[in-house]
């Protein structure tokens, strides 16, 4: 949908490709910004001006902005946003508090790994939506099932990544630790744990995405409040502009939380220098 710059006969490796590759970071950002603007304008034209697509199903950007204003003015945005954020944060915290120690234990003890591992993999492979009706039956219609689904969604990526990080600690670094006289505890503290840190953050990033999906699913399928409930209410009353505005906020939340994890990683593990892309 944003292939405008690529249009024309110049699709090959030379020409525009070479020109783009040669741009400075600022230049690239500039081109991207222009792209975004062009895309928004075309979207507006196609839906809003020419009316080629029914705006009920895909409202134009201006309508979405207006929907946002309506949500704020109507006073429904803040309470729902707060409830969602609260459920998300609580669920995520529960997941991290359980997953990190268990993952470390799994990584350092073979019996733990062989018992918890297969069970965790089996649950992780199943989309968490399958557990949603159970959560609803057990925890009622409030924030409970949302917290539950967020926690279950975030738990396993963190757990399994931490365990994998411990297990795959580079053998030759362990050897170096032994040669230079590290005791068992020192070996854990200065070799195993630091080398697990990048895995932990990879797990957390993955968990952010999955937790957000879990939150939305739980709220869509049976919650009276939260962003998911807001989206459903707006859609059911054909106020798709408001629904899209709410979706945009959820997207911003997901991207923002991923960014937070990345920032914390940069600060806590500066040696990886990898960032998000």
């Amino acid at each position: 949908m944003s292939a405008f710059l690529a249009a024309g006969p110049n699709l090959g490796r030379g020409g525009i490709g070479a020109w783009l590759a040669g741009l400075s970071p600022a230049g690239k950002a500039g081109v991207l910004a222009i792209e975004v603007v062009v895309m928004l304008v075309v979207w507006q034209l196609v839906v809003g001006v020419f009316g080629w697509i029914n705006p009920v199903f895909l409202p134009p950007p201006t309508a979405i902005a207006q929907g946002f204003v309506e949500l704020v003015a109507g006073g429904t945005l803040w309470p729902n946003m707060l409830i969602s954020a609260q459920a998300w944060l609580i669920g995520f915290a529960i997941a991290a508090v359980i997953a990190i120690p268990v993952g470390l234990l799994m990584g350092s003890s073979l019996p733990m790994d062989r018992v918890v591992g297969p069970i965790a993999w089996t649950i992780y492979a199943t989309p968490t939506i399958a557990y949603q009706p159970l959560a609803k039956a057990w925890f009622g219609f409030g924030i409970g099932p949302v917290i539950f689904l967020v926690a279950v969604s975030a738990l396993f990526p963190i757990l399994l990544n931490v365990a994998a990080g411990m297990r795959t600690t580079n053998a030759s670094i362990i050897r170096a630790g032994k040669v230079y006289g590290a005791s068992r505890t020192q070996l854990y503290r200065s070799v195993y744990l630091p080398s697990t840190v990048p895995f932990l953050f990879a797990g957390l990033r993955q968990a952010v995405v999955l937790a957000t999906i879990g939150m939305v699913v739980a709220e869509l399928a049976g919650s009276a409040s939260g962003m998911g409930a807001l989206i459903i209410k707006a859609a059911n009353t054909y106020q798709t502009d408001q629904a899209f505005a709410a979706i945009a906020i959820v997207v911003a939340w997901s991207v923002g939380m991923t960014q937070v994890v990345t920032l914390v990683e940069r600060w806590a593990a500066p040696w990886t220098r990898k960032g998000r892309r």
Partner: protein, 275 residues
């Protein structure tokens, strides 16, 4: 050609004494056992510089790992300072073939790693020692860099500094100059030579370069493969200090070089044929 016995004609008990050592690995994938080295005998005296030559995969690293205490002998004994090796110890430091630096530590923190593990950071002067070692390997100015910001050769030099600063009695070096460019290599060689002469450390030095083996070694241990074993041990008998230039035309150097060349070439072809 004078091929000496496993023991050098020198008084006193050897610092390292290896008798009838063999190591075999369990290869998990195939369930077979692979004999890496077999029947190795070697005595090394305090202050000696031993270079180890041999075709790739003949078990040089394995041998060094046994002396370091990282690999247990399958049969045979290894004594260091008269007592059997049961594991790694502060009397031995290793420069690893694959550097084995801690990616989350800066150059400075990597070099101080050995001191830290042995809780020697309390006394005064450790900073200077670390700094000195970093300067010795020519990495001044890179103290705060992370390993991934360094070239392979630079990382290898960090490994060297880390070993030197731990002040072991025995330095085990596994191709420590393998990834270093020719010029730096020459400089580092000279530095190692001087350092070892000055401190009188005992060194086991694995290399693939015949010239390097001659230039640095008091004795050269030549390994053969299939299974890995010592083929011969040669005393270089060259005057110290040596330098690349001074021995280039020394007839003894040329003689040794030709001899080693033939020995290794024979090994390499044998290895290729047996495949």
């Amino acid at each position: 050609m004078t091929t000496t016995s496993i023991e050098r004609n020198e008084a006193g008990a050897p610092l390292i004494s290896v008798r009838d050592l063999s190591v075999s690995y369990d290869v998990a994938r195939t369930g077979k056992r692979l004999t890496a080295i077999e029947g190795v005998d070697l005595d090394v005296h305090e202050g000696e510089f031993i270079t180890v030559l041999g075709p790739s995969g003949c078990g040089k690293t394995t041998f060094m790992n046994v002396v370091a205490g990282l690999v247990k002998p399958t049969t045979g004994t290894v004594l260091v300072g008269g007592s059997p090796v049961t594991g790694p110890g502060p009397d031995r430091a290793v420069v690893f073939q694959d550097y084995a630096l801690l990616p989350w530590r800066t150059v400075f923190d990597n070099v101080k790693f050995g001191l830290e593990m042995q809780k020697e950071l309390k006394g005064a002067g450790w900073r200077e020692r670390v700094q000195e070692a970093i300067e010795l390997v020519g990495l001044a100015g890179f103290e705060q860099s992370y390993p991934r910001e360094l070239s392979g050769g630079m990382q290898q030099r960090v490994g060297l500094a880390r070993a030197v600063v731990a002040e072991p009695r025995i330095l085990l070096m596994d191709e420590p100059l393998g990834a270093v460019d020719a010029l730096t290599r020459e400089v580092m060689r000279d530095e190692i030579e001087k350092l070892m002469a000055a401190t009188g450390k005992t060194v086991l030095f694995i290399t693939h370069s015949i010239e390097e083996a001659i230039l640095l070694g008091d004795r050269i241990v030549v390994f053969k493969s299939h299974p890995g074993a010592i083929k011969e041990i040669i005393e270089t008998g060259l005057e110290r200090p040596r330098s690349e230039r001074s021995i280039q035309h020394d007839p003894r150097f040329l003689e040794l070089r030709d001899h080693l060349w033939d020995a290794l070439q024979g090994e390499a072809t044998a290895a290729a044929v047996s495949k």
